[in-house]
Symmetry: C2
Subunit: 322 residues, 2 copies
């Protein structure tokens, strides 16, 4: 959950305070952005099944995703770790290995690493700093009539954690049980090793599209889209049949008897980019396989709606809780 | 504890990675600095006696101290909080009130605030971003023969926590016991509401002194000074009778039967500034009541020594553990 602004902004160098994926700062040129997030054991990850290297990789990826969502490029990352007694030197090295892997992939330097002991479980704090190369893109700047787009596919990360939780449960009931994770590669990878969409801002630029608003899909399409709409003072209509769900995720959803739509709308942790584009740029989006146009922005009085495949209209706000 | 560098630095914009009070970054002009630290319940604070407002204030002050230690000026602060179930809305508001108070005092904007739930106690992560106005000052750049100086006084924060722990123990033994905190104002304030020394870099500049190296005294003079020396590839000699200990701290130390020197050397959490100055600037330091010249830097082969009042030489490294 993100909190709203808590107090006045007095520094001329503060271009954007709380309420977006990152803060925007300008001391001179160029502008730059800074984001911070924490991951806590038992809330954001379960060490029973979360490999340390993946945890480091994911922690960094989340920060990178925040920066791409601002149309910025990450350059530096700082990490502070709270290490509980059960974490070995080797575990710690694996966490750093994961962070460094993500940093290499995103051409980012690890410029700060604090270690402290923790009595309360493993804690990761990640700060990412990056450059605004072109112009930053906010959440609150969408216009009525703009198209709503989302990169990649949604819901798989949530289905991944459901598989992991199921196998954990079965193992706890019977210690001889061998967790069966084969065949679930796609959803597991989406949960354990999400990739921040560095390619999307690049491709938008190449195609000559300047998104009017953008954000990272971290808590689920329903709440993230609601946020983009309310910050922009608009409503929206999106279409169920347009929501991108990957084939392997759809199969897992069926197996688990979970609605893939619920996973996409409320699952979260997909770290895809949700963005709005002027209708004038519609032609430029055509043929872009990896981006789905899922609907458009409407006047605020028109509310936020999902049109189902049966042509029913469902209030997005009501969809927020699974 | 701070970790050494973990991997290569490839970004031309990274001027300083891990190993100092903050990272130094340059995308254009001016250079800027970023620091991050976390405070964990049970390790860094005990909610039995730590008021929420003070906790917010202290969390921010630690970050500001890191920036002043780089000769930078804080401008923006981001906070991420992990909130356990026992933290009320009102407690949370108090934490923010403390952070805002510190931000006001240091003319810094609160530009990011993330909230997440925590199953493992209250967690605070603070990132501070600031401008390098003049030129940054590192830890590793001291020279042989430079004078070693420290601002304010040392050891009081440690004595403050000893008083709080004593009263907590007595209260736990007898619930009718009324904790007695009157008369301990100085040491309690140093523990609960430390002030980052914004005035020191300002005064150094006014006096025309450019410190050759500088760092925040966070873990205790013995280990922080050892760090400055080893990063600069030097040894040092400091004198017991020069170590600044405030009168009220000295009284509390006597009452608790703790050596005030041990509190100063190993207590930590003073958030004063330790810096080195060229011998050529000696005259400029005279009459500066709030800064003590405690010794000087020597060749690395000469080791790191504290000369006691009895004229004995004690190895600083051996002093690191209380």
């Amino acid at each position: 959950m993100k909190e709203e602004n808590k107090g006045p902004l007095n520094q001329p160098s503060t271009l954007k305070g709380p309420g977006d994926d990152a803060a925007v700062i300008q001391y001179g040129n160029p502008r730059f952005v800074v984001s911070n997030h924490i991951l806590l054991e038992g809330v954001h990850f379960d060490l029973t099944y979360f490999p340390f290297k993946h945890l480091g990789y994911k922690a960094a990826s989340i920060g990178f995703s925040d920066l791409y969502a601002m149309n910025a490029v990450p350059r530096q990352l700082l990490v502070s770790l709270g290490i509980s007694a059960k974490i070995s030197e080797e575990n710690l090295e694996e966490i750093y290995r994961g962070i460094r892997m993500a940093c290499d992939r995103h051409e980012t330097d690890l410029v700060g690493n604090n270690l402290t002991s923790s009595l309360t479980g493993l804690t990761l704090s990640v700060t990412v700093v990056g450059e605004v190369c072109d112009e930053e893109v906010y959440r609150h700047t969408a216009h009525e009539g703009d198209l709503l787009c989302v990169s990649g596919d949604l819901g798989a990360a949530y289905l991944g954690v459901q598989i992991l939780e199921r196998e954990k449960r079965l193992f706890q009931e019977n210690k001889d049980f061998q967790p069966k994770l084969e065949g679930y590669d796609y959803v597991l990878e989406r949960q354990l090793k999400p990739e921040a969409r560095r390619d999307i801002p690049d491709l938008l630029k190449k195609k000559g599209i300047r998104p009017t608003a953008m954000m990272s899909v971290s808590t689920g399409l329903a709440s993230d889209l609601s946020r983009l709409c309310s910050l922009s003072g608009l409503g929206c209509i999106i279409y169920e049949h347009k929501i991108p769900i990957a084939e392997p995720a759809d199969l897992v959803a069926k197996e688990l008897n979970i609605s893939p739509m619920v996973a996409a709308m409320n699952g979260g942790e997909d770290y895809e980019l949700l963005f709005s584009v002027s209708i004038k740029d519609y032609q430029k989006l055509i043929g872009w396989e990896d981006v789905s146009i899922i609907g458009h922005l409407v006047a605020p009085g028109d509310g936020m709606h999902l049109i189902t495949e049966n042509n029913e209209s469902v209030d997005l706000q009501g969809l927020k809780v699974v």
